[in-house]
């Protein structure tokens, strides 16, 4: 089949380091779905949500450079990290609505022989897979239906906020649908768009932990066997900090946390290794083996 859609892929710094698995699985799945993700040539830091609030203009410049690069390639920009999505989209919006800013950034970009007219759309991979690829294409590729795998669909706070363009800001359903397409069972997960603790883990750990705990608890109570994430930071908080949560609250959570791309990959029959599974701190192996057996 012909390549469906061509995009510039913006991995972002977070998947370069400890979230390699996200990047890995994303590429594998997109390749299978004929979504052409050509890594954006010479991309740089998105400007990062934190920097925005300290040196706004510079943050915009940094992020605008990526947009300019993408525009040069005449493709829309696909990101996997909602924070990048947020920052890049913000710059996009601000430049469109504030001619003065656009001018300033324009002159800055010129210094690097770049220019940005504002034609690039910044999109999250989840939304691309759900809206552009769609149900049929995905179902057509299922090899192992994840039958009965009860998953808590976790969106985090940044995919739909503040713009709410792709899904309902308070109660998104996109990931829920995707999960049903690959045969999993999304459980009722009222906290699906609530805060995971974010950076607080570094600054005010106890608060961060309590927020993460809420998420884990809610998932467990609704019978989830694992949590599906779309955000590297959420992933880290939920996954790596489970032990700290248990220590801190005397709880005993062992809920595997998987990227939605990994779940799709499994359903498509890719090996755990190729999807970067089994590197996680809260092992998903037992659960998955149980399931994949069920399927065999």
């Amino acid at each position: 089949m012909e390549t469906q859609s061509k995009f510039s892929y913006y991995p972002g710094c977070s998947v370069e380091g400890m979230n390699k698995a996200y990047d890995k699985s994303a590429r594998v799945v997109c390749d299978a779905l004929k979504v052409d993700l050509a890594e954006l040539n010479d991309w740089n830091c998105c400007g990062a949500s934190a920097y925005m609030s300290i040196r706004e203009l510079r943050a915009h410049l940094i992020s605008a450079r990526n947009l300019a690069l993408a525009e040069k390639e005449r493709k829309d920009l696909v990101v996997v990290c909602p924070a990048c999505l947020n920052t890049l989209t913000k710059t996009n919006h601000y430049m469109a609505e504030n001619p003065q800013l656009k001018k300033t950034i324009g002159t800055a970009l010129k210094a690097a022989d770049l220019q940005y007219f504002g034609s690039v759309k910044v999109r999250h991979l989840l939304e691309v897979i759900v809206n552009d690829v769609g149900e049929n294409e995905i179902k057509a590729r299922i090899k192992n239906s994840l039958k009965d795998l009860k998953v808590a669909p976790y969106y985090g706070c940044q995919l739909t906020r503040p713009f709410g363009e792709v899904d309902d800001p308070e109660f998104p359903t996109m990931l829920d649908n995707l999960l049903t397409w690959i045969g999993a069972k999304p459980v009722n997960y009222p906290l699906k768009a609530k805060c995971c603790g974010g950076m607080l883990m570094m600054t005010k750990e106890d608060v961060g932990l309590s927020l993460t705990k809420n998420l884990l608890e809610c998932a467990k109570e609704n019978g989830a066997e694992c949590i599906a994430t779309i955000c590297p930071l959420c992933h880290m908080n939920l996954e790596c900090y489970q032990d700290n949560v248990n220590k801190h609250f005397g709880t005993d959570y062992h809920i595997p946390v998987l990227y939605f791309t990994q779940l799709i990959g499994l359903a498509f029959g890719f090996s755990r290794k190729s999807l970067g599974i089994d590197d996680e701190l809260t092992p998903s192996k037992p659960l998955l083996e149980k399931h994949l057996e069920v399927i065999r």
Partner: protein, 652 residues
């Protein structure tokens, strides 16, 4: 030209004089061609002011008059009367607005005076070309159309009918009564809605002067003040209103149950039904969507049992045309769709209900026979009532829905009265503006309802502490304590706001009236003409003009009735004088104008090969005048010469 023009520059106290040098404007005007006298005066609209004009007309033989003062919308008619009482045709008077659009908009005296001079020049130049006009009069058809059978429409219809006039009352639903019929108690007096409403409904049903057309809607409305024609579609009930005696046997025997709209889907009704026992008319209606005969082709049980043979499956939709002289629009409101606010969980969390659903719960003849119960059939131990749902909110409706504060208090009171439950009210501001309202608020404070000042952020069923398990947690910032509170409750009542009906735009088009920015129908003047509209002979009343409680709606119903009656008793109305006139000799028969007239006032006379205009139908928009490439159409009082003269004067 031998015209003698009198110019009067009004100070309007200091309203104009503060920023406009009226003396110099008058002095300037006195040098304009054909101006015989130019004076400035304190209050030209005062009796002595008007007398001054009459005196000048008599003594100086003025032939035309210009008054430079406020907006013509304010005093044009006043001064037209003044001059005509002194024998000058009212249309030889011209008004120059140097207040609303001149003196009030700037503090720059120099500029304002300049502008005033220009505006006056415009009026003076124009008045030279004004032509005397006779205002035509046509009789007013005394029959009245009332659209909407809620409390407002009922009030209006009864008032008019009692005065001996005929009323056509059109209601969309199978019964009149509107929202009020679905309420339990009414604030602040807590008398039961049914007890005060049903008698009125009955008298509507029985009134000899009221022709009640339920289950019908107005699909067309044409003509002009005093002489409208309403086109009304009567949807088939499949029950003959003449024959039916309302015994209710058909309802009893009907095998099929469907969710009851009247009970907001909380209860059930049959496929042939009356929305509620006291419905007016008492004739049931067959719901085609559910009726077994219509869906499966078999059953007709109702037909078998009906002692009067009133069931008629063959009934067809009918369209009737009714001539009326005036119309009152009282189409009411829609409730805000609480499902839009996802974080409140309406539709997802079973015990989050709307205030209207609560009304049905607490209503003696409602689905729970008046018991306030949760979905699991148990009475709640704690209830939260949330104000301003969809109102005063940038994302939904920015306006205040006016009634929610008070009905929320009533809700609180009823919960308090009927259950042991602890009640929390989450409000932004408490608005108790009406008679007896503040007192009612006090009373509730004493009934130890817990008032939390703050807009609710979310309602969740996710517990964070054991005590929240199995509860609905209401999260809100208590702006008085300055802290975020999580209050676990069993039931949440959303006090949803009021908004324009979903068909408001169509109604506006049908009656060619305008809407204000929030989508409610626009009144002629917010203070001085609250129930009139820009369209003569068409009035609005009740919540279709903006959120209103029952007292205000009833008051407006009465006000609209009074307006209509005074129109009827005038017996005849004056026709728009500034209509188009076609000069048949100049018309080349290019057939461009007939297709443009929004009122089909222009027809093409194939024999004479010219366009002909029906004066009474023309409303004077002037579209044809501007379009006529032969310059064969003129608009009275807005002739090309008049407008050109004015434009030349003000642009020079």
């Amino acid at each position: 030209m031998t015209e003698k023009i009198g110019v009067y520059v009004c100070h309007c106290g200091t309203n104009i004089a503060r920023t406009v040098d009226c003396k110099s404007v008058a002095e300037y005007a006195s040098h304009l061609p054909n101006v015989a006298i130019a004076r400035d005066y304190q209050y030209t609209c005062s009796d002595p002011g008007q007398e001054m004009i009459r005196k000048d007309i008599r003594e100086l033989g003025l032939t035309r008059v210009v008054v430079a003062s406020c907006s013509p919308l304010m005093h044009e008619s006043t001064f037209r009367r003044t001059v005509s009482s002194a024998g000058v045709n009212p249309f030889l008077f011209q008004m120059a607005n140097i207040r609303e659009q001149c003196s009030w908009i700037t503090n720059d005296r120099e500029l304002a005076t300049e502008r005033a001079k220009a505006i006056v020049t415009g009026a003076v130049t124009r008045v030279n070309y004004n032509e005397p006009l006779e205002v035509k009069k046509v009789p007013v058809n005394p029959d009245v159309l009332v659209v909407g059978g809620g409390i407002t429409g009922i009030e209006a219809a009864l008032q008019i009918a009692d005065s001996g006039r005929k009323v056509w009352l059109v209601e969309k639903e199978p019964t009149i009564g509107g929202y009020m019929a679905r309420f339990d108690k009414t604030f602040p007096t807590l008398d039961c809605a049914a007890c005060i409403l049903t008698p009125k409904m009955v008298s509507v049903g029985q009134h000899q002067n009221i022709e009640l057309l339920s289950y019908s809607d107005v699909i067309g409305f044409s003509g002009y003040v005093g002489n409208f024609t309403a086109k009304i579609r009567r949807r088939p009930r499949y029950v003959d209103e003449e024959k039916c005696n309302g015994c209710g046997l058909c309802e009893e025997k009907c095998p099929l149950k469907a969710p009851s709209e009247f009970d907001s889907g909380l209860g059930k009704r049959k496929a042939i039904y009356r929305p509620f026992p006291q419905a007016v008319p008492g004739t049931p209606v067959i719901d085609k969507e559910h009726c077994l005969y219509f869906t499966k082709g078999a059953c007709r049980v109702c037909e078998k049992f009906c002692p009067k043979g009133a069931i008629d499956f063959e009934q067809k939709e009918r369209v009737m045309e009714i001539p009326v002289g005036t119309a009152i629009i009282a189409t009411g409101f829609d409730l805000f769709d609480a499902g839009k606010i996802k974080e409140y969980g309406y539709g997802r969390l079973p015990n989050v209900i709307t205030s209207l659903e609560f009304e049905r719960l607490t209503h003696a003849s409602g689905p729970t026979a008046g018991k306030i119960l949760m979905k699991n059939g148990k009475p709640p131990e704690t209830v939260a009532i949330i104000h301003c749902v969809g109102s005063r909110d940038h994302n939904y409706n920015e306006y205040c829905s006016r009634v929610c504060c008070m009905y929320s208090l009533k809700t609180a009171h009823l919960v308090h009265e009927k259950t042991e439950a602890k009640v929390y009210e989450f409000y932004i501001d408490m608005r108790a503006f009406g008679k007896g309202y503040e007192e009612f608020y006090k009373r509730l404070l004493e009934e130890d309802v817990a008032f939390v000042r703050g807009r609710v952020a979310e309602i969740t069923d996710v517990a964070q502490i054991p005590s929240e398990k199995g509860k609905l947690v209401v999260v809100a910032e208590d702006t008085l304590l300055g802290m975020v509170r999580r209050i676990p409750v069993d039931m949440v009542v959303l006090s949803v706001g009021l908004q324009p009906r979903n068909d408001a735009l169509d109604v506006a088009h049908t009656f060619s009236i305008s809407r204000s920015r929030d989508g409610f129908f626009l009144e002629k003047h917010p203070k001085l003409a609250p129930v009139s509209t820009a369209a003569d002979g068409i009035f609005v009343a009740g919540a279709c003009q903006g959120p209103k409680d029952i007292p205000d709606s009833v008051a407006q119903g009465g006000a609209a009735a009074a307006n209509v009656l005074s129109l009827i008793d005038r017996k005849e109305v004056e026709l728009e004088p500034s209509i188009a006139i076609i000069d048949e000799d100049a018309c080349s028969g290019c057939k461009i104008c007939p297709s443009l007239c929004p009122y089909h006032a222009i027809e093409f006379d194939e024999k004479k090969q010219v366009a002909v205009l029906t004066a009474a139908v023309c409303k004077g928009c002037g579209v044809c005048v501007a379009a006529c490439p032969s310059g064969a159409i003129e608009q009275q009082n807005f002739t090309n010469r008049q407008l050109l003269a004015e434009v030349e004067a003000v642009s020079a």
